[in-house]
Subunit: 241 residues, 2 copies
C-alpha cells in the first residue's frame, strides 16, 4: 500500500523524527538501568545519598515518558506510518510504559533503603538479594541491547531467562519467610526485603515485555502469552537453522 | 488537516470498526471486573471452584488483549485516524494493557485462594481485606463507567479515590505485620494475605490509569504524574464552573 505523502518529504522527515524518538528511548532506558543499579546498591549498602538520587531520577523518567509518548502521537498523526514503521512507533509507546514501571520499582528500592538507613545489621539473605539483583540487571541490560540492535535472537534468549529469575525469586522468598519465623523481631525488615525482591522480579517481567516487543517489531508476530520455546522454534530456525 | 480518504468511506468504516473495538473493550472490562470480584470471594470464602474459574478467565482476558491490540494496529494502518480519533485508538491500546494487568492481579488472588483452601481459620483481618476489596471493586466499576461514557468529571472523582485506597492498604499492611509478629506460626498465611492486599492496591492504580486516559481522550491533556487536584481545577471549572 502506497503512503500518502502530501509534502514530498514524509519519509525523510519521518526517519529524522523516529531517530530522535529512538534516541530518547535509549536515554530513558539507560536512566532506568542506572536507577535499578543505584536502588539495589542504596539498599544493600545503606547509602541514603544514592537512595535519594533514585527517587529524584524517577521524576526525570516520568517526564521522558510523557515527552516520548507525545512525540509518538504527533508522528502517528502527521506521518501516518504504515507496516513496520507503524509497528515501531507502537512498540516504542509500549516500551516506554514498561520503562516507566521499571523506574517505579527502582524508586521503591530507593525509598525502602531510606526507611531502613537507621538499621545496621547485615542479614545473611543480603547475598541472595544481591545475586537476584545482579541477574535482573543483566537481563534488563540485555533487553535494552536487543531493543537497540533489534536483535530477535538476543530477545528470545533474554526473555528465556525470566524463568530462572522466577525460581531464584521463589527461593529467596522462602528464605525470607523462614528468617521471619526465626526472628519475629526482625520481621518488618525482612518483609521490606521481600517487597524489594518482588520489585526486582517485576523488573525482570518488564524486561521480558521489551524483548517481546522486539520480536513483534522484527517478525510481526505477537508472542505475548504464547509458549516461548514453541515460538522460538517457529521463528528462529527459518532464519538461522 | 484533511485526511487521506482513498476509498471514499473511511469515516463510516472507521466508525464501524472503532465501535466494534470499543465493544470488545467493554467486554474485556466486564470480564476483569468479575474476575476481581470472584478472586476476592474465592479468597475470603475458600471457594476453590471460583478460584479455578478466575485462573481460567485470565486466559480469555489475555486473548482479548491480543485481539483488540491487533485490531487497533489494523485501524491505525488502514484508516490513519487523526486528532481525537487517533487519541481514542491510542487510549484503547493503553487501557487494554491495564485491563490485562488487572486480570493478572485478580488471577493471583485466585491462585493464592487455591493454595490456602486447606486452611480453615478465619483471622480477624479478613474483614479489612474485604473492605479494601469492596472499595477497589467500586473504583474499578466507576473507572470503566467513566471510560464507557467518556465522562471527565467521573474520571477525576474516581481517580481521586486512589489516595484513600492507598491509606487503607497501608493500614491493612500494618495490621498484617502485627498479626505476623503475634502469630509467627501463621506467618505464611498472613504474608499471602499481604500479597493479596498489594494486588488489590495495584488494581486501584490501574483503574486510576484508565481514568487518566479518559481525561486525555476528552481533553487532550495528559495528566499522568501531575497533581490531580491542580489539573481538576484547571480543566473542570472551565466546563462546569
Amino acid at each position: 500500500m502506497k503512503q500518502f505523502n502530501p509534502e514530498g518529504h514524509t519519509n525523510h522527515q519521518f526517519d529524522v523524527e523516529l531517530n530522535d524518538v529512538k534516541h530518547k528511548v535509549m536515554t530513558m532506558g539507560g536512566l532506568v538501568e542506572s536507577m535499578v543499579s543505584d536502588g539495589l546498591e542504596a539498599l544493600l549498602t545503606m547509602n541514603t545519598e544514592l537512595g535519594t538520587k533514585v527517587c529524584e531520577d524517577d521524576k526525570t523518567v516520568n517526564k521522558l515518558e510523557l515527552e516520548i509518548d507525545r512525540e509518538c502521537t504527533r508522528i502517528l498523526a502527521r506521518r501516518q506510518p504504515a507496516a513496520s514503521d507503524l509497528r515501531m512507533v507502537l512498540a516504542i509507546i509500549k516500551t516506554i510504559s514498561d520503562l516507566e514501571r521499571i523506574g517505579d520499582e527502582a524508586e521503591k528500592l530507593g525509598r525502602i533503603s531510606l526507611q531502613m538507613a537507621e538499621e545496621t545489621d547485615m542479614p545473611h539473605y543480603y547475598k541472595d538479594l544481591r545475586h537476584l539483583g545482579d541477574h535482573v540487571k543483566t537481563m534488563l541490560r540485555e533487553a535494552l541491547d536487543a531493543f537497540t540492535r533489534m536483535d530477535v535472537e538476543a530477545a528470545f534468549s533474554t526473555a528465556a531467562k525470566d524463568e530462572a529469575i522466577d525460581t531464584e525469586y521463589a527461593n529467596l522468598s522462602r528464605l525470607l519467610i523462614s528468617h521471619m519465623m526465626e526472628h519475629p523481631a526482625l520481621l518488618s525488615h525482612a518483609l521490606n526485603m521481600s517487597w524489594c525482591a518482588r520489585s526486582l522480579e517485576r523488573i525482570a517481567d518488564h524486561a521480558c515485555n521489551i524483548c517481546e516487543y522486539v520480536i513483534y517489531l522484527v517478525e510481526g508476530r505477537d508472542i505475548r502469552h504464547a509458549d516461548l520455546d514453541e515460538m522460538r522454534k517457529q521463528i528462529l530456525p527459518a532464519k538461522h537453522g
